[in-house]
Each structure stands twice: as structure tokens, then as C-alpha cells.
Symmetry: C2
Subunit: 410 residues, 2 copies
Amino acid sequence: MGLVTLTLGTTPMATEPFAPESVADHGHLPRIRLAVSRPMPLDCGVMLSDFPVAYQTYGTLNADRSNAILLCHALTGDQYVIGGNPVTGKPGWWEIMVGPGRPIDTDRFFVICSNVLGGCMGTVGPMDPDPATGRPYGINFPVITIGDMVRAQKLLVESLGIEQLFCVIGGSMGGMQVLQWASSYPEAVFAAVPIATAPRHSAQNIAFGEVGRQAIMADPEWCGGAYLLSGRRPEAGLAVARMAAHITYLSETALHRKFGRNLQDRPAFTYGFDADFQVESYLRYQGSAFVDRFDANSYLYITRAMDYFDLAAEHGGVLPRAFLHDGRATPVRFCVISFSSDWLFPTTVSREIVHGLNAVAANVSFVEVTTDKGHDAFLLDEPELHQVMHGFLDGCAAHRGLPRRRWAPR
Amino acid sequence: MGLVTLTLGTTPMATEPFAPESVADHGHLPRIRLAVSRPMPLDCGVMLSDFPVAYQTYGTLNADRSNAILLCHALTGDQYVIGGNPVTGKPGWWEIMVGPGRPIDTDRFFVICSNVLGGCMGTVGPMDPDPATGRPYGINFPVITIGDMVRAQKLLVESLGIEQLFCVIGGSMGGMQVLQWASSYPEAVFAAVPIATAPRHSAQNIAFGEVGRQAIMADPEWCGGAYLLSGRRPEAGLAVARMAAHITYLSETALHRKFGRNLQDRPAFTYGFDADFQVESYLRYQGSAFVDRFDANSYLYITRAMDYFDLAAEHGGVLPRAFLHDGRATPVRFCVISFSSDWLFPTTVSREIVHGLNAVAANVSFVEVTTDKGHDAFLLDEPELHQVMHGFLDGCAAHRGLPRRRWAPR
């Protein structure tokens, strides 16, 4: 695509952010071009070459490049983990977990997070120009999978000169990527923390995904996916999709505690279709805020990638085989975490991951955090989660020969 | 409105269906005009007069008019309980429960079911002409409540010459009406069976309702509610609303058992946005079938009525007071039924109803039916539900001096 790029296999000093000389960077820097000299195969059969991936790094890579942690973001997350998000003007999505002195301590670890393939924050996705036409891909962008996302991340990590990640961590869809990393590249991952996730998307998960997609595609502004060509945006449909999904991120208890049946700035029912209830007003806000920062087609692609995820399917439907490496138990150390009130990715499916790992005698610990905050708990101030994260990382650091450090919750 | 009508207070022989000479009956007969001589107050403050209610009856009213059972339908139900539905061409919604020799035995009982206020099957609702303009009400129809629905049903029952119903039975929103009946008219109800319901809509319930409404109102074909004027229909939005709601009617287990991750008539992923999965195809079908038989504005009104429902609110927030009658326990005999896998109206909220009844020492039995079919179990072949229903009705029949009859599941 004619740009001066960092290519697969370069191993620059990774202590500074990279700033490839790209004019098509969407303002998301650093941004790297991958698969320039050799195309990357996608699961759908398409070969993707010379594509951009936007990412952020935090902290300093140590001399032997053994302290790198890859964070995998969830469906609507992005690479802006801490230090604020330039698109929303709000804090990063994991300020509470990552940073100097935090459980994922940027004084100790070199933290990497990249926008997923198919995303809309600088990594190649349906908003980008199709090299064949020069116009935005729209739904001509190839359908990508969790495996494809991880394949691109692997190229990024290699390009940063890192042979083995100290840890891969992520919640929800990020957790799917963690599982895929550990399964596909067991020698490139020392430890793995899949949080509030599943080895496959369930029928109910797929059903909610489909509702969101149908809401978007039902919006006439979607224009068969080609809305960017006419400067339109299916905002109403995307907002409905977000609203439906958002309900699934919270527990019934959390909704009750936060909102109950409280009315929104009014003493009584209006007997109309305004947002009488606080929970309605909150959902409408979630919907409208989301469309300002997210691309509708990206939403289609990324939810589809989640639907397609089924780690066992690659291994004849037998999950434990996903955790075999040369016929033996994966060398990766796992810490599987679930939340007691998460009904989207309930503890039962985290247990399936654990049972799969146990079946090959892999190294795994499992924690169900007791909380009423639902699926979103992984993003929230959940002290037990933070203690577990620190404890696991510190224990793994000792095994990996990294300096240990005591940590106290702030 | 110039029609010859049956009015409030007439007590015709109720063994034959009524056929008021109406030209605006939508084909839904029998249909009665209520509140002709005296307007009916709605909770929103509007007075509604001379409005049609469409209903069906099954079986024969006995000589002392003591064997009438009112069935209250759920959100998307209607008056066609058994014997087929003329709109859909499909069976009635409770063929399995109601009929000769069924638990609600039409050889013993006179069964009444009316389309709810705000509905679209012949009872007055937003499709009907606004007398002030002659054009369809649209969203100028007054916002109605569960209390209003029950008030209209009370007029209907009176017009049928019935002073006391032997039983009021309903599931989901129908169960809300049952609770409202027992609370508002304790002397007009001998027994009550609220199934899979709640004394109030929860924050999560309201949230799902709001997603459905937003999906409808986001559809440009909704035209601010005035779509009938231009011959348009917000089908896409209504289908999305139905799809989102439908997920909540099924348990995760039921979805897994019925569909799992099975593909729809294809050997492998298509890597596209077609309905690859059976569960997607099923949901799309549910959405598209629904728009053929339901009015989008009715959907707005009826979901709103559910959101507004809070039985305790009428009684200072103290639920037991809803079950006091002249300072003493309600005389109504209750059988409260929940389903173990219902996450929309879980057993915990049925227990709240029971605790409220216990607090006034009312006559109540409570059954949690163990099933993995979710909220929709009340409509399905659930033998324990059917046994409980027969047993409770037969016991109440003895107390009421009606002949008893042995029943065996078919």
C-alpha cells in the first residue's frame, strides 16, 4: 500500500512506541503494518497482506524481553488501556487494573494491547479501504475469527522482538483470545489468564449476537453495509444493539441495586414512552454514547468472530486436546477466573475450561470471584479479582525468574 | 360511536357468544362495547368510554354462574385460547391446558378470555380510530396499565352476568392481571393462579422492554407512531424487538438443547452474516412470524403496561397490604406457580408474592415446577404444571360446591 512500514520480523527496541510513517493511521498511533512480505492466512481462506494494526504499550521491555504481557480487549474495547482514550476523552478501559503499582504493574511489566482485527480503532477492519476498489470494505471485508485476531497479534508480538509473552490476559472476548493464544502458541506464552469467558459461544450468546446484528442491519442507514460511501451511519440500529448487549453485561442484582424502579428526574409516571425509569435513561445513554465511538460494521464482524469461536472444534470436539502440546500437557500456566453473578459467561463454562485443562494435567488454578456485578465485573473495582491477578502474576514471575514484588491494594 | 351495543350492566345469557352489530370488529367476534353509559377511568387520568373488547368463551356457564374461569393472556397472546387462531391459522395458545378433559376442563368450566386493552385483536388499542379525529390513535392512544386491563375485564365479566369468577388464571403478564384482579376485586374472585409472574417489573425486565421499544421506534417505518396513516409498518424494528424478547422466554439450557451450535442446513460456516446457526434461523423466524400478527404500537403499549406494574406501589410500597380486604386477609385462594429455569420471572419473585400473602395469613399454596424450559414453560407440555392446575382447581371446586372430577393426564 506504498507506505514505509515496520514489517514482520523487524525487532526494533521496544522501549519506545513505534510511529510508522503512515498517513492512513486514523490518528491511532502507534500503528504497524504486518504481513507485508508474506500474507497472513485467515480462517475463511482469504490471505490478508500488508495490513495495519494499532496498538499501545505501557512500561518498559526488559533486556531479555521476558516481561511482556499482552492484554486482549473485549468486544467493544480497544488498545487504550490506561492513560485516557483519545476518542472518547474518557479513562482507558482498565485503569483500575493496569499501571504503576497496580496488579498488572507497568513498573514491572511491558504491557501491550492492540486493537483487534476487524476493529475500528486503527487496526484493519471494514472501515478501511479495500485495496481492490479503494473504497471502504464494508461487508466485503473478510469475516474474521478469534484465531485470526490472535494470528495478527502474534505477528505484532514477533515484530516487537518478543519470542515469549510472560502472560496473556483478557476478559470476555479477550479471554477467548487468551485461550486461543495458549492453544495455538503454547511455547510463546508463559502464563495465561482467561477471565469471564468460555471455550465456545453458547446458543444464548449467539442469539444475543444475532439480535444486535439484526438491529444494525434493519436500520436503513446501514445501506447494505455501504453506509460510509454515502456518509450515513446506522446509529439507531447500533444503539439498539448496544442496549440489548449491555443488559447482558450486568446482573439482575446489579441493575436492581443501581436503578431498581427509580424514576428519572420526575415525581411520577408520565404515561408516555419517554425514559420514565432511570434504567431506561441509562440504557439510552449507553446506546447513544456507543455510536459516537464504534463502527457498526465492526460490531457485526467482531460479534461474528465470537459466535464462531469454539476451541474444541479445531480438535475434533474434544476440548482437552486444545491444551496438548506435542502430545503432552500444555506448558502454559493458567489462572481461570469467573464471576458468580455473570450469566453471559457463567462459572459453569469457566469450569469446562478448567476440566479441559485438568484432563491433560495442565497447570491451572481457578477462582470464582463472588460478586453481584455480573459479567462487567472484570472491568470494575473488584478487590478479589485484583488480589488474584497480582498473586498469580507474582507467582509466575518467580517461576520465570523475574523479580518479585509485594503489592497492596490501594 | 353510533353502534348498537351491549352495555355495562346488561346480563345476557352467557351460554352463547355475543355478536354485537359492529362493522369495526376487525373480524374478531364476539366483540362487546363496554363503558357505554358510564366512562371507565384509566390510571393515566383519561376517561375511556364506549370501547370494544373482543373475547372468546369456551364451555357452558352453569345455572348459578359459579363456574367461570377468566384466563388472562400474556404480552403477545390473545383471546384465542383453543380451537385455533383465525389470524395465524395455528392452534390457540393454550390448547394443551384447556379443553374437554384438560386440566382447565371446558366440560366443567365456562372459560373466558379477552384481548387486553391496548391489544390488536379486536379490543380497543392504538390501531383503533380516535373518536376525536377519526384516524388511528397511534401513540395518541392513552397509556394503559395492568390495572386498566383488569378494569375492562371486570366490566366484561359483569356484562356476562357473572358476579364472582371461580378462578382467574394467567402466566407472565397474565399473572400480573391475576394479582391485580385478586387485589382490586377480592370478592369477585374465588381463586387465583398467578404463574411465572411478579408483583412488579424488575429493572432488568424494564430494560428488556425498553430495548424492544427502542428497536420499534428506531425503525423509520414507525413514522412517529403514525405508520397506519401511510400504510407503512415498522416490521424490521418489531421483529428485532420480538427476537430480543424471545431469548428471555427460553432458558440457556433449553436453547442449548434445542439448538446448541448446530448449523442451519449447511456443512460449515459460510463466513458471512447469513443465519449460519440454527438458533439464528429460529430467532429470525420468530421475528418475521410475529410481525404478521402483531401491531407495533400495541407492543409499545403493552410492554409499557408491564413496566408500570407494581402492585405494592398502590399500597404504600407494602405488598401484603395489596392482599388485605376490609383489614383482613383476602378471601381469595391462591396457587402461585414458578419454573425453576425461568430467569425473566424467577422463583425468587414468585416467593415474594407468597411471602406477601403469608404476611396476611392468606390461603396460598406455592409450587416451583422443576423444568429446564424457562419462562415459556407455562405454555408448554409440562406435566407437573398440568397436575398442579387440575389439583388446585378440583380442590377449589369442592370448596365452592362445584362437582369434582378425577383427571388423568392424557
